[in-house]
């Protein structure tokens, strides 16, 4: 992995070799959603972390190896669950449509 995928978050300053990165963007149609909340749930459904999306709808987590669920909450939308697999040394890119 040599950098962010097209349009994704910059990975400058992140030691990707040591981290299991999950990152992506929340979209309503083609529009980024800047005021959404993305929760990271572990394999048992337990809350692990939560971040608000950036002005461009982006989010990032430093997880561990394994299966995770992203639960996205946004104004005037139902929560959306997205399964994702993370692995140390790689970046899992996820697009969430609400």
């Amino acid at each position: 992995m040599c950098g962010a995928t097209e349009g994704g978050l910059s990975l400058d300053g992140v030691n990707v070799a040591k981290e299991a990165v999950i990152q992506g963007q929340v979209l309503r149609g083609a529009e980024p959603v800047p005021n959404a909340y993305v929760r990271l749930l572990d394999g048992s459904g337990e809350f692990t972390a939560e971040v608000p999306t950036s002005a461009t709808g982006h989010f990032r987590f430093f997880a561990g190896d394994g299966e995770w669920t992203l639960r996205t909450l946004a104004p005037k939308a139902d929560p959306v669950d997205t399964r994702v697999v993370a692995a140390t040394g790689s970046v899992a890119e996820v697009a969430v449509a609400i």
Partner: protein
């Protein structure tokens, strides 16, 4: 204390935006959140620069706290309503901090900034001006703050509640997963500590669960209501959230927050550490 005296709803806040004597205070982990938009009339406290000593690892002292609140226009008899991002982690930390220095009337906005945003309520970038006051703090209330020696002594005798995520408790992660994981300290938890992630106390929208649900969660995790309790996390902010639940919502006596938390305990030489999902032995 009780839910009625320590918690207000988003609607209550909206109805009291112009009420004299009510001061809204935003405290966020991301200290730039306020600048991107906040509830009208709210002032900002920066937990890293306003509430921490800038040289030693400790809080600002009584005189510094007095100077801070005086300069921000907060009076002793004001109703201080705290809110913030991350499900009120740092707002709860500030709540505990205001209590530590003896402020009488402090409340949390249930659900914090997230609930406010998910409700599509208004945010503004207009900064309020408040006249300077002459704030007087009390000496720190040591009945709600735990230090490392008390924590070590509590192993196997008092309730220790580890409120971090299960992976941090077990030693599989060293920090919340929105932060990089490289850390100096050892991974794991304090032996005999019950694992009750702070998030168990909150709904998805950040509001607190009902008193009955909360009691059941801590009882099931093995909290003995007849014993004193110390809550800890990584740096003391998530455990403020749980301290708030146990002390202010459920009215438990003798609940302390260990603000040194895992970044201190996990760096101590010679103390016992348990790994894995079980509490471990004293």
């Amino acid at each position: 204390m009780s839910r009625e005296s320590s918690l207000v709803t988003a609607q209550w806040v909206e109805d009291n935006l112009d009420t004299d004597g009510v001061v809204l205070v935003e405290v966020d982990e991301d200290t730039t959140s306020y600048d991107k938009g906040h509830i009208r009339g709210a002032i900002k406290l920066d937990w890293t620069t306003d509430l921490q000593d800038q040289v030693r690892r400790d809080f600002v002292n009584k005189e510094q706290f007095e100077a801070l609140l005086s300069s921000r226009g907060v009076s002793n008899d004001d109703t201080v309503v705290l809110y913030g991002g991350n499900n009120n982690w740092f707002a709860a930390y500030a709540y505990w901090y205001f209590k530590l220095y003896g402020h009488q009337d402090v409340k949390l906005l249930d659900g914090g900034r997230k609930k406010w945003e998910l409700d599509s309520r208004e945010l503004t970038d207009e900064k309020p001006t408040r006249a300077e006051t002459s704030y007087t703090a009390t000496a720190q209330d040591s009945s709600i703050r735990a230090f490392r020696d008390e924590v070590v002594a509590a192993i196997g005798t008092q309730n220790l509640v580890d409120v971090r995520s299960p992976d941090e408790y077990a030693g599989r992660l060293l920090a919340p997963a929105h932060l990089p994981q490289e850390q100096a300290q050892r991974a794991g938890h304090i032996p005999t500590a019950a694992s009750v992630p702070w998030s168990k106390a909150a709904n998805d929208d950040g509001t607190f669960k009902s008193d009955d649900e909360l009691k059941e969660i801590y009882s099931e995790a093995g909290v003995d209501w007849s014993k004193d309790t110390i809550a800890y996390c990584r740096i003391g902010e998530r455990s403020s959230h749980t301290w708030f639940v146990l002390k202010e919502l459920l009215g438990q006596e003798n609940v302390k927050n260990y603000d040194g938390s895992w970044t201190e305990y996990g760096s101590l030489v010679g103390v016992p550490v348990a790994l894995g999902d079980e509490p471990g032995d004293a």
